[in-house]
Structure formats: structure tokens, C-alpha cells
């Protein structure tokens, strides 16, 4: 059984922050045509980590673009073991984080899901529908193999709740930038700045803003308060439109430039 080096994700992102570099984490739906090359292209173009979405039949935290990508991937035959096997073959030197929904882990068995994720070279996991109250069994299975569990923190959380999330989140704290599901937004929501500010006041872990960050300007705006951004729907849309890994790389470069100008 492989073990991840506990703390690898936080160390990598923490090093960026310490060096004055804003973190850029693109999200790619696994199982789309060429998704593996898209992950590699994103890493080469300046991503500091990449999130890999393992598609689930009922993605309630996802808006139309990522939901559609998941449906297409499932129709094309994507499965958790298949995705993890492909992830294991990727040639990237930035950390990989799996994002999915709890039932896939629950069904495979928590310990097996955690260890297979780590065996695929992935060092973090995000469960979109597993809040603090339900976290313990999964967190225990993940920590046994050194897999970091990244927690979401939302604008609706009380001070006390955000503090508890910051304490238990590993790798980074994921600040949900809008009241809503994933998807591109025209402008940066005021809530993105507010939630990042609240979290930065509570933790020294890296705080990354995600959900609703889609353009270089919204990324730069969000990262003016937080330590970086997660960009999902805008990446995945390029894949759905057939722009392939090159389209992803171009967007990563634009976002990188905007973040580096801060």
C-alpha cells in the first residue's frame, strides 16, 4: 500500500504563498476526451495543483457546465477505478486533488477509496456533499493513508463554523465564493471577497477561492484577498467546446498572468 506524504498539498501551496505567488488550481472533469492531457497541459502552463473531478450521477453542487461534463463522461464509460488508473499514469509534478461526491467512496468502501486514490498519486480529496457533521469516518480513512481532506467553507457559515472548518481542513481551505453552485459568473461576487477575508482572519493555512471564478479579472480580484483561486467551469467549458488541452493551457496562461500581476 502506498502512503502519501501527509502535508504534501499544504507544503506545495504554502511554498507558493511564502514566495509571494498566488495559487492557481484548475479543475478538469475526468472521463472527458483527452482529460489526462488537459491536466498535464494545465500543469505545464502554470497551475500549482490540479483538481480532478470524478464524475457522479447526481452532482448537486455543480451547475450546468460541470454537470453536463459529468453526464458526458459517464455516458462515455467513466468509472472511479478507470479514472484513478488513468490518473496514475499522468506525467505531472504538481499535486493532484480528487473532487467528487461521497456516495462513490461510501460504495467502494472508505478505506479502499482512500487508498486507491493515493495509489493513483493523488494527495488530496474534496467531497462536495460531506460537511463537518458527517466527516469523521471519511477523515479517519483518509488520514490513514496520508490523503488530505480539503473542506469547503461557505458564505452562510457562522464564525464558529468557519473556525471549525479551518481547523479540520487539510491542504488548503476552499472558500466558496458565491451563494450558489459551480458555474461561470460575469462579475466577481462581493461574497467572494468577504468569505476569503473572514477565513484569512481565522487561519494560516492557504485559503483558495472557488466557485464563480472564471476570468482573469475575477481571479485577480478574488486573489487580492485570498491566496489563490480554483477555476472549474471555465476550464471544463473549453473541453466541452472541443478546444482540447490547448484551450485549457491558454486559459491557464491568461489566469497565471493576471495572478502574477498582483
Amino acid at each position: 500500500m502506498k502512503l502519501q506524504t501527509p502535508g504534501r498539498l499544504e507544503a506545495a501551496l504554502g511554498a507558493c504563498v511564502a514566495g509571494g505567488r498566488k495559487c492557481l488550481v484548475p479543475y478538469i472533469t475526468a472521463g472527458l476526451p483527452d482529460w489526462g492531457r488537459a491536466v498535464e497541459a494545465a500543469a505545464d502552463a502554470g497551475a500549482d495543483a490540479v483538481e480532478i473531478g470524478i464524475p457522479f450521477s447526481d452532482p448537486v453542487m455543480d451547475g450546468p457546465v460541470i454537470a453536463e461534463a459529468g453526464e458526458r463522461a459517464l455516458r462515455a464509460g467513466a468509472t472511479p477505478p478507470g479514472v484513478l488508473a488513468e490518473a496514475a499514469r499522468l506525467d505531472v509534478d504538481v499535486p493532484l486533488v480528487a473532487m467528487t461526491y461521497y456516495n462513490l467512496a461510501h460504495h467502494m468502501g472508505l478505506e479502499r477509496f482512500a487508498s486507491e486514490t493515493v495509489n493513483a498519486g493523488i494527495c488530496g480529496a474534496i467531497m462536495a456533499d460531506l460537511p463537518l457533521e458527517e466527516l469523521d469516518p471519511w477523515a479517519e480513512a483518509a488520514s490513514q493513508v496520508g490523503l488530505a481532506t480539503v473542506l469547503l467553507a461557505a458564505p452562510t457559515g457562522s464564525e464558529q463554523r468557519l473556525r471549525a472548518i479551518c481547523e479540520r481542513s487539510e491542504g488548503f481551505v476552499y472558500a466558496v465564493g458565491v451563494l450558489g453552485v459551480t458555474g461561470e459568473r460575469d462579475r466577481l461576487a462581493a461574497s467572494a471577497l468577504e468569505i476569503a477575508g473572514r477565513l484569512k482572519a481565522l487561519t494560516s493555512k492557504p485559503v483558495l477561492t472557488g466557485v464563480g471564478i472564471s476570468s482573469p479579472s475575477s481571479a485577480a480580484g478574488a486573489a487580492s484577498v485570498s491566496d489563490g483561486v480554483v477555476v472549474g467551469s471555465a476550464m471544463v467549458r473549453r473541453l466541452l467546446e472541443g478546444q482540447g488541452p490547448d484551450g485549457v493551457a491558454r486559459l491557464v496562461e491568461e489566469l497565471r498572468a493576471a495572478l502574477d500581476s498582483l
Binding site: F56, S57, D58, P59, V60, M61, D62, G63, A67, E68, E71, L74, T79, P80, P81, Y102, N103, L104, A105, H106, H107, M108, A128, D129, L130, P131, L132, E133, E134, L151, L152, A153, A154, P155, T156, G157, S158, R161, I165, V176, V178, L179, G180, V181
Partner: protein
């Protein structure tokens, strides 16, 4: 059937598996419901509306000709006679009152057959609230009448084109709406499913079915029925009637559609906020249910039913679409009551089991009336 544990569990089932954004709303809802449920004034207002507006108590009908035909004494709890035509109104009036008390101005709901959507649209109209109902495209097509009723009542009906385009996907879409609108909006969930506190709260709001039925059975027969049977989609009408008899020797039987038998053919999984029996593939992807009845066309089931099944207090059977159509016609022909396709499942089970049930008394929850289904049945049986 009592309270779930503090973490919202019935045995190992239930819980609150929702995106982080919604957790505070679920916790607030639990606190608000607890407070309201203990408040005599809230209860009095709810009871007044259930009586003056919804028409409760619903009668208990002793079937004469059907009982003769089957050799089983069949009693019907007539939820079909409630305002809007099904049991759904009990839950909706309760939740809408609660939403108003919490300062919410908008209701969102999912609907399968359209009965819960119609009930929610009705309550929104009654209380002057905004209302959006999500409904799978397949159901929009097969329950056209209810779509029109909802729009007439002032609700916005949004067809859902993702996934199986039925109830499961309507719930996904309603949850997505709620993630974005949670500050002003109450999710008026239509069955004993979803995250805690919904399974418990919705069952309590339907408890009135079981309490009335127990009293009515005692008056009519001097005792309790041998068997209490109800159809199970999410399981709200069943939970309501079971709650009146769980502490008696009566057998409790939930009837699922053969194509959506979560308890009968599923395994434990996590969907739509709770851990419960679920139809899923070898990887944990939720599979599509397939039933003639839009209201039961759902791959999951409320967590308390999973618990009742596991402890053996209730058992869950399933019937085919063909058996359901026969039962639909049988009740219409023998009793002058056209049932909805959902409760026709419970009747189909009684009919199939007539030999083992011979001479016994079976209470069936007639959860809704069949107007919404007559066109569909007409087209399915044309040329026969």
C-alpha cells in the same frame, strides 16, 4: 416511530449529507421546527388550516364490493379527498406555515407526479409567497394536467432536462436552486427524505393520517386492522399512516414499484442528503428507476423506511406496472373511486395477496385521486 438521534439518524440511516452552504439552513430549520412543533399556537393554526382549508379529517371508507371480490376486508384512508387531491397537502401546509414563521418569502419544490408541486403552489398562493417547482421533462409530459394546475395557481414550473428527467433530477435541480437562494427561500421537500430534519419533520406533519385512521378504525371495527399497507416512493404517505400503528401489533407493509424498489432491490448509499437504500450500479452511480407512476419513479427511499425494514418492523413488497393498472381499474369498477396510480400499488399488493390475506382486515392508505392519471391509463389501455 420516535425522534431520530441528534445527528439525524434512524439506526444507521439518515444524516445530513449536503453541500456546506446548506448546513446552516438545515440546522436553522430543525431549530425552527422544534420550536414551532412545541408551540400550541402554531399547532392550533395548523390544525385549523388542515380542517377549514384542506378538509380534514379525511374519512375512512369500508369497501363493500371490493372486500367481497377479494375476500379481504379492505378499509381505505381517504387522503384522495383532501384539497388538491392527495396527502401531500398535510406536509405542505405545515412547512409553509413554518417558512412564513422563519421569514422566508419564497418556496421551491421538486415534484414527480405533480401532486406535491400542486400542493406547494396552492400553499404559496394561500400565503402570498413566490413559488418555483422543478419537474423532470418526462413527468411534465405525462402529468400535463398538474403542470397546468401549478401555473394556474401562480407557480413557475421549470422542466428539468438532465439525467433521467424524472423526480431524482428534479430534486437535484431544486437543491441547486436552494444553494443559491437559501437566504430568502425555503425548500418545501415533498417526502420523508432529504437531509435531517426533513425525514422526521415531514413524517410528523403526516402523522395526522395515522392518528385519525387509528381512531376511525377503532370506531368502525372496535380494534386495529391486521395489516396497514401504503405505497412507497420517498415514503411520506406510508410514514404518516405507519406512525399511527407502529406501537400496535398491526403488520406494516410498504409497496414499491418493481422498477423503483429501493428497499427491495437496492443497497445502502448516500443520495439527496441522507444515507438510505438506493438503486445504484457497481460503482455507486445512482441508477434510474422506471415506473408507470411518476410519484414513485425514484431510486431512493426515506431513511426511516430503511430502518423499519432493517429492524423488521415493516416489510416492503413490490408490484409490477401491469398489476397496478389492474388494481386501478378494480377499485374504479367496484367502489366508484378512481385512485391515483401511486396508491394503486398498495391495492395491487392486496389483490395479489388475497389468499394469504383472506378474512383479515387491511387498511390501505389511498394517498391520492386518479384524475391526473386517467389520460395516461386511457392511452396505455387503448385498443385492449
Amino acid at each position: 416511530m420516535g425522534e431520530p438521534s441528534p445527528d439525524g439518524r434512524f439506526g444507521s440511516f439518515g444524516g445530513c449529507f449536503v453541500p456546506e452552504t446548506l448546513v446552516p439552513a438545515c440546522q436553522e430549520l430543525e431549530a425552527a421546527f422544534r420550536e414551532a412543533w412545541a408551540d400550541a399556537e402554531f399547532r392550533a393554526e395548523l390544525n385549523r388550516l388542515l380542517a377549514d382549508y384542506a378538509g380534514r379529517p379525511s374519512p375512512l371508507t369500508a369497501c363493500v364490493r371490493l372486500s367481497e371480490e377479494l375476500g379481504v376486508r379492505v378499509l381505505l384512508k381517504r387522503e384522495d379527498l383532501n384539497h388538491t387531491g392527495s396527502h401531500k397537502i398535510n406536509n405542505v401546509i405545515g412547512q409553509s406555515l413554518l417558512a412564513r414563521r422563519m421569514g422566508k418569502t419564497r418556496l421551491v419544490a421538486e415534484t414527480g407526479a405533480g401532486q406535491h408541486g400542486v400542493a406547494t403552489a396552492t400553499a404559496a398562493s394561500l400565503f402570498g409567497m413566490e413559488c418555483t417547482v422543478y419537474m423532470g421533462e418526462v413527468d411534465v409530459a405525462r402529468q400535463e394536467l398538474n403542470v397546468y394546475r401549478m401555473r394556474l395557481l401562480g407557480a413557475e414550473v421549470k422542466p428539468v432536462a438532465s439525467g433521467s428527467r424524472t423526480l431524482k433530477d428534479a430534486i437535484n435541480e431544486t437543491l441547486r436552486d436552494w444553494v443559491a437562494s437559501v437566504e430568502s427561500t425555503h425548500y418545501c421537500l415533498g417526502s420523508v427524505m432529504g437531509p435531517h430534519p426533513y425525514p422526521w419533520m415531514v413524517r410528523e406533519l403526516h402523522r395526522v393520517i395515522g392518528e385519525e385512521a387509528r381512531r376511525q378504525c377503532a370506531e368502525l371495527t372496535g380494534g386495529i386492522p391486521d395489516v396497514v399497507a401504503a405505497c412507497v416512493g420517498g415514503g411520506s404517505n406510508a410514514a404518516g399512516i405507519f406512525s399511527g400503528f407502529a406501537d400496535t401489533p398491526a403488520e406494516l407493509v410498504g409497496v414499491e414499484p418493481a422498477g423503483g424498489a429501493a428497499v427491495g432491490k437496492g443497497s445502502p448509499g448516500v443520495l439527496h442528503g441522507s444515507r438510505s437504500y438506493l438503486l445504484q450500479d457497481e460503482f455507486g452511480q445512482v441508477t434510474e428507476a422506471e415506473s408507470i407512476s411518476a410519484g414513485l419513479d425514484y431510486p431512493g427511499v426515506g431513511p426511516e423506511h430503511s430502518h423499519l425494514a432493517e429492524t423488521g418492523r415493516a416489510r416492503y413488497e413490490n408490484v409490477t406496472d401491469a398489476e397496478v393498472l389492474e388494481a386501478f381499474e378494480m377499485l374504479s369498477r367496484t367502489e366508484g373511486i378512481i385512485p391515483a396510480l401511486e396508491p394503486a400499488h398498495a391495492l395491487a399488493w392486496v389483490s395479489r395477496e388475497r389468499e394469504s390475506l383472506a378474512g383479515r382486515t387491511v387498511l390501505v392508505n389511498l394517498s391520492g385521486r386518479g384524475d391526473k392519471d386517467t389520460e395516461l391509463v386511457m392511452s396505455l389501455t387503448a385498443g385492449r
